[in-house]
């Protein structure tokens, strides 16, 4: 099967999945709770409540509501966020930028640590480093991130008072322009060292907290992949050429072990995306995650729907890309199952 056909087929399935997700999400909000509860208060007479329901088109049959909602989404109208007191589409990009900055930073931490640890362990299978790595990995996967974050805060913020919370020092943040919305980048663009430090300083703890779990995923995969590769003939063949163990490991085994490791990047991405919710709550990071938690607790379902839909689409796309990249990288893989 040609790579092109494979991509095409995946691209064809994508919209079906997205529509499916949108239906699921929409049904959810109509099954329980109240899509408009946030706008109601007890001073309202029943007629007033009806009025609000009309404002949000809740008086129409469900499928009409769905179509209208979907139409809005397609036209870039994601509805109005009661929590943010603004159209979702106004606030979303800002929040997204903040979240992405955090997620990407964490992702980098995870990739670096994960691959290093994984190689370290895989190359020394069943030796001490391997066991240590395994414990790190498993514990990373079992660690309640919100708790880990709180522990770090207890130590570095509450007790030692050296770590900040939030995303920035408001005054410094206000002192520079924000073309990209990514604080670190903006700081560099503005050429302000103080701002850059402020950004990094606020980023470190959350990124570490979030990155730890992801590190576990990658390290685990990397390890098993490497162990797998090290048992392949070509490794012995490379040794038979007289290559140094270092080169055998780096140039041959690890290089190939990275290929299957690519596949978990999609998984890791989802993991990071989820992680931002609690991490942002704990570190008061003004991103999508915390906004979402707010919306959930205050029952702002319009925002919630957009968020779930958006993250799912993002998740799907990333996974698609990952698969394609993987298909490209691995000469052995046969496409389409």
């Amino acid at each position: 099967m040609q790579l092109r056909d494979y991509i095409l087929r995946r691209l064809l399935v994508l919209p079906i999945l997205i529509i499916g997700v949108s239906i699921v999400v929409f049904t959810l909000t109509r099954v329980g709770g109240s899509p408009i509860g946030i706008y109601l208060s007890h001073e309202m007479t029943p007629s007033e409540v009806a009025e609000i329901q009309a404002r949000f088109g809740l008086d129409q049959p469900v499928w009409v509501q769905y179509l209208q909602w979907a139409k809005g989404i397609l036209q870039g109208d994601f509805g109005y966020s009661g929590v943010a007191a603004a159209p979702v589409s106004d606030i979303f990009p800002l929040k997204l930028a903040a979240t992405m900055e955090l997620a990407v930073a964490a992702g980098c931490v995870a990739l670096f640590l994960g691959i290093t640890l994984g190689t370290f362990a895989g190359a020394r299978r069943n030796k001490l480093p391997d066991h240590i790595t395994r414990i790190v990995a498993v514990s990373g996967a079992s660690l309640p991130q919100f708790w880990f974050g709180i522990l770090l805060l207890i130590v570095f913020w509450a007790q030692l008072g050296i770590a900040p919370i939030g995303r920035s020092d408001a005054t410094i943040f206000a002192s520079i322009a924000h073309p990209t919305g990514l604080y670190t980048i903006d700081a560099i663009l503005a050429g302000s060292l103080t701002a850059f430090w402020d950004a990094v300083w606020h980023l470190i703890l959350p990124a570490l907290t979030l990155g730890y779990g992801a590190t576990a995923i990658i390290a685990r995969m990397m390890r098993s992949a490497l162990v797998e590769e090290l048992q392949q003939d070509y490794v012995d063949a490379a040794r038979a050429k007289g290559l140094a163990e270092k080169i055998v490991l780096k140039r041959h085994a690890r290089r190939n072990a990275l290929v299957p490791t690519v596949t978990v990047i999609g998984l890791t991405f989802g993991f990071l995306l989820q992680g931002t919710i609690t991490i942002e709550i704990i570190y008061r990071w003004p991103g999508l995650g915390r906004w979402m938690a707010d919306s959930v607790l205050r029952g702002d379902q319009g925002t919630l729907m957009t968020y779930v839909l958006f993250t799912s689409v993002l998740f799907l796309l990333v996974n698609l890309i990952v698969d394609v990249v993987y298909a490209n990288l691995d000469r052995r893989v046969t496409l389409g199952k």
Binding site: K95, A158, L160, A174
Partner: protein, 552 residues
């Protein structure tokens, strides 16, 4: 009595503080970010539009600073003072017509809005009409619409209103309400104008007023910034303001101790953490006019109760059961636990510190298990017991109040079960707004007001807001009597007579309570000691601060 309790608690808290880790915080004397006042707020506004804001909601905090009203409360007394109107209308100065129906306001010259346009009577009429015309259900337009028959612009600087009926509370509960704030006509017209029933998205996220502060920016979930309005008609504010939004109470506490914040909103229960921190002053005094209460529904639709509830629909029709609940509630636990000792108990249903409150009226302020048991037995529910659900917003004082109720009754008799449904704010509002109400009990606080009539109408009158929803008529021993008393007091213009009537009502309602009043929450405010001119006025919306008065 409560004060002694409070001291015990305080010492306990101090011991606790000593046992807890010492925090390395710089309580240095020098002032952090001079020229800027950082206020850590509890919740985020859902709108900045006076016509849309819901009483007691976060937006009012900001509206108070940026918009002006015709009249206002001074910082030290509940007396009305001029604001955009140059004098407080009264019969003597001809501001109020003899029949008490027409009010005339002389307006202040030379006031300009933040957008540079000049302020005139048109703006006042426009602002009020706007609120009434938009009539947003979430907003408080009713406050104006219900009492105002008509309003007119007499001349550029004179504005007059005619009421449907004479009202003793028009000036201090309507004119001063946030919904009566004066907005810039041009600004609104330039941004969508008025559309009945539809919120104005521009006004919801921006502000153009005449107040001491200009609106700068609102970073959702983060902060909201205001800057000094240099050509304010009154004394200029001294400090720019940044309102830090969200975060847990103890984040604010630490921020205050660290000097990041100058003023914070926090539950009384966190005061123990600030007590004794250097550089921090705790302002205690007075009580909020928002009694924390639990409603008892006498108007439950057939079969609408949650499945786990075993009570009959007419459960609360029996006054003995309502009394029993009032006797069973562990007031001290609530006051000393969640409220950390900051609060008082007020009679049904007039808050302390308000005209008409009778200090000698009987009050439910002590758990009386024996009496409760006696009444429950009389009512015949003691032996087989019952199970009832109480719905409330999760994660705040109300939820804690419900937990206290739960513990109080379940410890009184294991056969009693109270299911606390602590739900999302929206879910609660949804249930709370429905009429008839499909739960037997719910917990929240009263809306603040400056006049007893408001409370009695809303929370005691058989035909009042809640009287109707909860069907007080089904329960009062003598509904007509209570209705009569409240109505007569409402239009009584002689204070002495009025007070006497209210005293009688309070006694009546003790025998026939329609609420369980957990407590009237005490005002506690913590701020950096470097803050000068700190003042609070409970009649201002939460946190009852005017930043323009402060300096540091």
């Amino acid at each position: 009595m409560t004060t002694i309790k409070w001291r015990n608690h305080l010492t306990a808290a101090l011991v606790g503080g000593a046992l807890a880790f010492a925090l390395p915080l710089d309580a240095t004397a020098q002032v952090n970010n001079p020229g800027l006042l950082v206020h850590a707020a509890d919740d985020e506004p859902t709108t900045l539009d006076p016509a849309q804001v819901e009483p007691g909601e976060g937006g009012e905090t900001v509206i108070l600073q940026v918009y002006d009203r015709l009249l206002d409360f001074g910082s030290d007394s509940p007396e009305l003072i001029p604001s955009l109107a140059v004098e407080v209308p009264s019969v003597d100065n001809g501001g109020i017509s003899a029949d008490g129906l027409t009010y005339t306001f002389k307006l202040r010259e030379g006031v300009t809005f933040h957008d540079g346009t000049a302020f005139s009577a048109d703006d006042v009429k426009y602002s009020w009409d706007r609120a009434i015309e938009m009539d947003l259900p979430e907003g408080n337009a009713g406050a104006l619409a219900d009492v105002i028959a008509s309003s007119e612009v007499v001349d550029d600087m004179t504005f007059s209103v005619t009421l449907n009926d004479p009202s003793a509370s028009f000036l201090n509960s309507v004119v001063t309400a946030m919904v009566a704030s004066v907005v810039s006509q041009d600004a609104v017209e330039a941004n969508g104008g008025i559309e009945a029933g539809v919120p104005n998205q521009y006004m919801a996220g921006n502000m153009v007023g005449t107040g001491p502060y200009k609106f700068v920016t609102w970073n959702r979930n983060e902060n909201l910034q205001l800057e000094v309005n240099d050509n304010y008609w009154g004394d200029n504010a001294k400090l720019d303001v940044r309102i830090e939004i969200g975060g847990d109470p103890d984040v604010r506490v630490l921020g205050l101790r660290a000097g990041e914040f100058d003023t914070i909103e926090t539950d009384p229960s966190f005061v123990a953490d600030i007590e004794g921190a250097d550089g921090v002053t705790i302002f205690k005094g007075g009580l909020l006019l928002e009694p924390l209460h639990i409603g008892m529904n006498l108007n439950i639709p057939e079969g609408s109760l949650p499945p786990e509830d075993t009570i009959s629909e007419d459960f609360f029709h029996d006054p003995r059961i309502r009394q029993a609940f009032n006797h069973a509630f562990d007031y001290e636990a609530f006051l000393n636990g969640p409220l950390a000792g900051y609060g008082e108990f007020n009679p049904h249903y007039v808050p302390i510190g308000l005209f008409g409150h009778d200090a000698s009226a009987p009050v439910y302020n002590k758990q009386n298990a024996a009496e409760a048991e006696r009444l429950f037995r009389e009512a015949g529910v003691w032996d087989e017991g019952f199970s009832v659900s109480v719905i409330t917003e999760e994660g705040n004082l109300f939820a804690l109040m419900c937990l206290v109720l739960k513990d109080s009754l379940e410890r009184l008799n294991p056969k009693f079960r109270i299911n606390v449904l602590a739900v999302a704010e929206s879910v609660f509002d949804d249930a709370h707004a429905s009429n008839p109400l499909e739960y037997a009990m719910w917990a929240k606080n009263a809306d603040p007001a400056a006049d007893p009539n408001f409370y009695l109408n809303a929370y005691a009158h058989p035909d009042g807001e809640w009287g109707e929803v909860h069907g007080f008529g089904n329960g009062y021993r003598d509904a007509a009597k209570i209705a009569g008393l409240i109505d007569s007091a409402a239009i009584e213009l002689d204070p002495a007579k009025r007070a006497a009537t209210y005293a009688e009502i309070q006694r009546e309602l003790y025998e026939d309570p329609m609420w369980i009043i957990g407590a009237q929450e005490g005002i506690v405010m913590a701020h950096r000691s470097w803050l000068e001119g700190f003042a609070m006025q409970p009649l201002w919306p939460r946190p009852s601060l005017k930043f323009s008065l402060f300096d540091k």
